[in-house]
């Protein structure tokens, strides 16, 4: 056990911290994803190795060797300083790693640098109304017509579709193949004719997602990652980058502090909420769960660095436990606040974030693999329990 960082890392932490202090004025605050200010800031971050850190220089990155601790130090210092972390989004977090793994040299040249620098914003076209938990049953089709794929169908849960320049998209290119094998991974321009975007309002009242409709959208034949029919494998090489971040215990820790703060300062009938033992007991219960997940996360980090611990199960449970916990935490805050906890939107008494996240995290319990799917995965892959036998088409309808 050694929870300290070695002196060279503490030195690195100093460097990051000094950079952030020195550049505090230059950071864009709340700038849009397409703003020049954010692009400039992103460029500065990449030059210093605080963004695109391990992406090769030839593709527009900083080109450093992977070092998990340095990455973590950067994340911690940016969080501590509440600094702008630069460009995010699914292009950078999901597409770039995928292209690095399975893209052609030409694709890497074409897409990675503009993506990293914010010149090319991406959205993701996976889920469909009929293909949620059962993603492989997707039906959006792409048919080769000369040198072009012709795409028809509908996607859902597409965030940032309105502002995205490009989409990476799963389509069915071989309707006769077994369902996991007929899928391909296409990249195409969102300005292509035949694309319609409809915002999808959710229970929070925001449109965090969209529906996207394709009618005879024509895509050059070469804009495919992997071979035709390899889309499922390509997509799964991406999914592993996505799920880890849902229900992050460090974010939950900040919310717990905010909850404690309310319980120490809000009163009811003159008594502090923290002094009400039934509320306090629930708060402490939540704290115990937060701690356990935080330590689990520390173990995952250590395993990445030291590679000497079997953390398959510990990694698989993070999304299931983290999202349920966060939902429960937000719900507790609402309960202790009583009627005040009902505040939402423009209510002057509280900004309504408790209700917002209570719902948003219910969305995350469902999204990115429902809790039921997560439990299937844990029981089958971590505990080695048998899969449910397959049924014939229409066996239980």
């Amino acid at each position: 056990m050694d929870l300290n960082y070695s002196p060279s890392y503490e030195q690195f932490r100093q460097e990051v911290s000094s950079f952030l202090k020195a550049s505090a004025d230059k950071q864009p605050k709340g700038a849009g994803l397409k703003s020049q200010a954010l692009k400039n800031w992103q460029k500065t971050l990449i030059e210093h190795g605080y963004a695109a850190r391990t992406i090769p220089k030839k593709y527009g990155g900083f080109g450093a060797e992977p070092d998990i601790l340095k990455s973590r130090i950067i994340a911690e210092e940016f969080a501590k300083a509440q600094a702008n972390p630069g460009m995010g989004g699914q292009g950078i977090s999901m597409l770039v790693p995928t292209l690095l793994e399975v893209g052609t040299e030409e694709q890497k040249q074409q897409f990675i640098a503009p993506t990293l620098h914010g010149e090319m914003l991406w959205c993701q076209g996976y889920s469909e109304p009929g293909a949620g938990s059962d993603l492989a049953s997707l039906r959006t089709s792409a048919v080769l017509d000369g040198d072009e794929w012709v795409v028809n169908g509908q996607k859902i849960w597409t965030s940032t579709a309105q502002i995205a320049d490009w989409i990476f998209c799963l389509v069915r290119t071989d309707p006769k193949a077994p369902k996991h094998q007929g899928i391909s991974f296409l990249l195409f321009d969102m300005k292509s004719p035949g694309i319609e975007i409809r915002p999808l309002v959710d229970m929070t009242g925001d449109a965090n997602f969209n529906e996207v409709f394709f009618t005879d959208v024509r895509v050059p034949k070469g804009q495919i990652v992997g071979a035709p029919g390899e889309g499922w494998r390509v997509a799964n090489s991406i999914l592993k980058f996505e799920r880890g971040s849902l229900g992050d215990p460090n974010a939950t820790l900040h919310r717990l502090a905010a909850l404690f703060d309310i319980m120490k300062h809000e009163t009811i009938g003159g008594e502090r909420l923290m002094d009400k033992a039934a509320f306090r007991d629930r708060a402490m219960r939540i704290q115990g769960r937060v701690m356990a997940l935080q330590h689990n996360e520390l173990r995952l980090l250590s395993a990445k660095i030291n590679g000497d611990d079997d953390v398959r199960l510990a990694a698989m449970l993070a999304k299931l436990q983290g999202t349920e916990l966060r939902h429960d935490l937000e719900g507790l805050a609402i309960d202790v606040l009583g009627e005040l906890g009902l505040a939402y939107g423009d209510n002057p008494y509280l900004n309504g974030t408790w209700q917002y996240y209570y719902m948003y995290f219910l969305g995350l319990i469902i999204g990115g693999g429902t809790s039921q799917i997560q439990k299937n995965i844990i029981s089958e892959r971590a505990l080695g329990m048998p899969k449910e036998p397959k049924f014939a088409e229409g066996a239980a309808t």
Binding site: S133, D134, V201, D202, I334, L342, I365, Q372, F391, E393
Partner: protein, 356 residues
């Protein structure tokens, strides 16, 4: 011996439910929630014609003088469609007013009965006692602030001070300032009441009268949550029988089946509990105080569980606005906090039983 609904009660439920199912749809909920000025006056008028608001008002004041259980059955139907019409505030006011001087109360009760008047609730101990709120009375002149007053778009308010004295305040009395407050539940109206030497009418100084009103309010909120939860369960079961994934309807997966079974097994006894609590308010004075606390805390806890689980059964669709399931989710959420959250009510339940 009969523990269940009478033929008349079933007919009452059927007639109100029959009307509401046709009149209150998702579009109406969307409109009422996104624009607080959107009025559902047509629904109010129709319900008035069905006798809904006259239900609890004594016959002497133009009402039909039915009981708490009847009112609870109505509240359940209103919750079942998330009806964006005020009902509970006036019902509580009716209960408190009916025990006071008929001279004072007659006009208001008659107005409630014919649907022309609505009373909002500003009770210091349960609603609005947070932060710097609180109403002070000097004689019949009120000053101070009350938060999260509900059934806020009313023409008068039942205002209770911390010592349990209860006043009737006209919404347009001089010295009254009203500020709507946005909450998660757009199907109910909440707001802030600021009073500066506003003249009101003392209804009663007897805390017991107020308590009886609050007990009724709690049982009605429990009923409202039960109705909303039953709707969510029904929707979840129906969706699970329709939606296919992995070549099967999802309702054939044991995990989904068990989620639905757990909801049903938790919720069904709540129906009996509500009946008993409604009956107890009128017939079992010894048991009424604990039943009011326990029925609201238990039923809203179960309803919250159903709200979450039914949304999960709907998958991503449950999270969107497309089906509008979230209106019920939020309706349950507000019923849970109003007139005492589950923890507060359990504490009070222990207290009224003499356990502490």
């Amino acid at each position: 011996m009969k523990f269940g609904l009478s033929e008349e009660q079933r007919m009452l439920v059927d007639s109100v439910n029959g009307y509401l199912q046709g009149a209150v749809d998702i579009d109406r909920l969307r409109a009422a929630s996104t624009n607080r000025d959107e009025s559902s006056d047509d629904v109010r008028r129709a319900l008035a014609e069905l006798g809904v608001f006259a239900l609890l008002v004594p016959e002497a004041h133009g009402g039909v003088g039915l009981g708490s259980l009847d009112a609870a059955l109505i509240a359940e139907q209103l919750g079942g469609v998330c009806a964006p019409v005020p009902f509970i505030g006036s019902a509580v006011a009716t209960r408190v007013l009916a025990s006071s001087d008929p001279e004072l109360a007659g006009d208001v009760l008659a107005g409630i009965a014919d649907g022309s008047r609505t009373v909002g609730l500003a009770i210091d101990s349960y609603i609005g006692g947070r932060r710097d709120a609180g109403i002070i009375a000097a004689g019949e002149v009120l000053s101070g602030k009350s938060l999260f007053v509900f059934d806020f778009d009313a023409d008068s308010y039942l205002v209770a001070t911390a010592d349990g004295a209860t006043y009737l305040l006209s919404a347009d009395a001089p010295g009254v300032t009203r500020e709507p407050l946005t909450t998660i539940d757009g199907t109910r109206r909440f707001g802030e009441l600021r009073l500066e030497n506003a003249e009101a009418t003392l209804i009663t100084s007897d805390e017991a009268a107020l308590d009886a009103g609050v007990r009724l309010g709690r049982v009605l909120l429990a009923a409202d949550a039960l109705g909303a939860a039953q709707h969510m369960l029904n929707e979840a079961v129906a969706y699970a029988k329709e939606r296919k994934q992995f070549n099967r309807v999802i309702g054939s997966f044991q995990a989904v089946k068990h989620m639905c079974a757990e909801m049903a097994a938790e919720l069904e006894p709540c129906r009996s509990m509500l009946w008993y609590a409604g009956h107890a308010l009128d017939a079992l004075p010894q048991e009424a105080p604990v039943l009011a606390c326990q029925s609201k805390s238990h039923i809203t806890e179960v309803a919250s569980f159903v709200a979450k689980t039914a949304t999960e059964v709907h998958g991503g669709m449950g999270f969107t606005d497309l089906l509008g399931l979230h209106y019920w989710f939020k309706r349950i959420g507000s019923a849970r906090q109003m007139l005492g959250s589950p923890e507060q009510l359990r504490d009070e339940a222990a207290s009224v039983q003499g356990l502490i």
